[in-house]
Symmetry: C2
Subunit: 410 residues, 2 copies
């Protein structure tokens, strides 16, 4: 009743492993301090991890007056995971090792309106190619993470891909995946509260609260694209008015640019002239390029968008008491340098909790492939991190179907 805090049974191994991963290098005593477990427990848990080949002893630390600590490190190449990001425009594949580092990466054109069976076969083939390119044995691959903007629409696809690749498939939201990817690749602290602002064609946010990803009761979290920023703004497909996405999302920026003759010409916008799968993505890239080259109209357009995004980001930060905000996704990969200073300025001057703790705003070092990396990270997490803490919920009991295909969103 009054003893020290404990760890949920099944999660201890995973928690220790996660600490080793997050710390990069740590001793058993370090784990004792970090977990609150006793030395004896850590000793046996670590032995198990070493036996499985997941962790290795790598040298000693300086003495602190007695026996030197034996340092432990993750055996990064003990296991691998595949991440697949289905975007309208492109499909991105990554193979990561246990540390979340990208070992191989390929990117192919999006599937468009192709037959699902054909897409499944193609993706399976490309996953095979990815794995073969670095010659990793199949049984060292923990699974495949599949992420998309609307995961609920890819249910059947995931199931089929599971059969085609013979890998366990987990399905999730791309923005959530991007957040987990940032968290996993170590840029963000293990127990921190942060959001990954994800800008692709739309705008969303993946949310991690105190180290735990937040998915909400139906997986529709972080929809900041529908933050209201103008009560009488233009009507959005969601039913409301003045949504961020309508006012300042990539599609809106492109539309505004197309309406500007001079800018259209200067940036060489694709416009409606081609039948490219995603003229929006292409044109947004063109506008960003023009901005980088000093086109003042392009700069003004992006900065206007950034002001809106910044207001939404501040709202989000104020609601969740965020510690870190990471900009990620294809559009921030291209135009992040314009948005970053605007968001920083907004949060430095108007974040409510700024006296209590700083909020760090940064650009993801791998914004373009963040969702795919995150997809792989979800696999790593689902294998290595606690499946669940606390009570089994009534909803779980309702759906007692065979766990063929693990899905993270409903």
């Amino acid at each position: 009743m009054s003893g020290p805090a404990r760890v949920t049974h099944a999660s201890t191994r995973a928690a220790v492993l996660d600490l080793v991963r997050a710390a990069g290098m740590i001793s058993r005593v370090g784990l004792v301090n970090a977990t609150g477990l006793t030395g004896g427990t850590i000793s046996t848990v670590v032995r198990g991890l070493i036996d499985e080949g997941l962790v290795a002893e790598t040298g000693h630390a300086e003495s602190t007056g007695g026996k030197r600590r034996v340092m432990l490190q993750l055996n990064h190449f003990a296991r691998y995971a595949v991440g697949v990001h289905l975007d309208d425009a492109r499909i991105t594949y990554v193979l990561t090792n246990l540390g979340g580092a990208v070992v191989a990466r390929i990117s192919r054109a999006g599937a468009g309106a192709d037959e699902q069976a054909a897409v499944v076969a193609r993706v399976a083939r490309e996953v095979d190619a990815l794995i073969d390119s670095v010659g990793v044995e199949r049984d060292r691959i923990l699974g495949l993470g599949l992420v998309a903007a609307r995961p609920s629409e890819h249910h059947e696809f995931g199931r089929a891909l599971e059969r085609a690749t013979a890998l366990p498939v987990v399905l999730d939201h791309d923005a959530t995946a991007a957040a987990i990817g940032e968290h996993w690749s170590g840029g963000v602290g293990a127990t921190s509260t942060f959001a990954a602002l994800f800008m692709g064609t739309g705008i969303g946010a993946g949310i991690v609260l105190g180290g735990t990803t937040y998915r909400g009761p139906s997986g529709h979290t972080g929809e900041i694209g529908h933050t209201c920023l103008d009560l009488d703004g233009p009507r959005c497909w969601c039913g409301a008015r003045g949504c961020l996405e309508m006012l300042a999302g990539p599609a809106a920026v492109v539309e505004q640019a197309r309406a500007d003759r001079s800018l259209s010409r200067a940036a060489g916008l694709v416009g409606g002239r081609t039948r490219a799968a995603t003229p929006v993505a292409a044109d947004f890239a063109a506008i960003s390029r023009a901005a980088r080259q000093g086109n003042t109209r392009a700069v003004a357009l992006l900065e206007r968008s950034a002001r809106y995004v910044a207001a939404a980001a501040r709202t989000l930060a104020n609601v969740l008491d965020l510690e870190v905000l990471v900009l990620t996704g294809p559009s921030f990969a291209i135009a992040g340098s314009v948005y970053l200073p605007v968001l920083r300025a907004e949060l430095d001057s108007a974040f409510i909790a700024r006296d209590a703790h700083p909020i760090s705003v940064r650009l993801s070092p791998s914004a373009a492939s963040a969702p795919a990396i995150g997809a792989a990270a979800i696999v790593l997490q689902s294998e290595l991190v606690p499946r669940r803490q606390g009570l089994r919920l009534p909803e779980d009991l309702a759906a007692e179907e065979p766990p063929v295909f693990q899905q993270l969103v409903r």
Copy 2:
């Protein structure tokens, strides 16, 4: 590794107790289904609770084809808790029983600029009067919950009050308390995701995610009063422009009403003429009264405010995937009937996840004393619900001396 999910050791007793409370009446089999624990475990846990006098057997259910279930109920009068809400305008005290039901309630004028020692003595005296009014033995009172808009400013006050009353004191945010109060008083499901929109002088939100209250790394959560609704709106004290609080909070509504001669006269606004502690609260009440009596200008003013609040609420719901939204706090107690339909309409037409699950918007049945009730509920919770699950957090380690080679992530 593969078995059913388990319960954190220390929390089982509390989880079962909480289920009994939430269900009102439940059998052991019901607890088995709700928790996922086995009958044997439930049997022993329930015996313990009965031995402690917290739970009692109360009759039988109809037979479902075999032995009838023995129904269990919380022994509501086994323990009590005191809740104190420090508002600028008023101090509200409640004594609740174990079920969160209010047994006694008093409300006194706010402390204003009085000396702290005097206020502590006065509050302690009034708490004594509250307890004596129903003749509850002191040792049955679990503790005192103290809530305020800016709890960090009442640290020393809480400590002093602890000495003066000889009761354990817990300190928290008033909006968070209101949310816990709603959760505890059973209007909201045990594992639901919801927010309590709290409108006093300012606007905030208490957040409960999947049955767990979310406080954030520094306790500054749910600051939806600083949701941006107009990029070029009036400047707010927080440093930003177009904050909800500036555009549509009670203070803004009052200011707009005062600028309207006809309405000022009709509603009999206090304005700046008196030296009352909180003219805003009094005038907001007067405007609401005028609206109820059919004054179209007052109605228009409040409905305008409601449209802004609704937009902020929608933003919040979209970010957190809310299932329930409760309107609470003094201002909603007065004007909730104007705000409720506007919020309902907004969320029915534009909540992103509305196809996945409904969002229920309702008015708190005890909006005026919700924070105080919540304060008491926090005490009940801190006594009866798991102290902590999972890992020890880095903040706990901060006090300890750092080993030379500590490489934990910050």
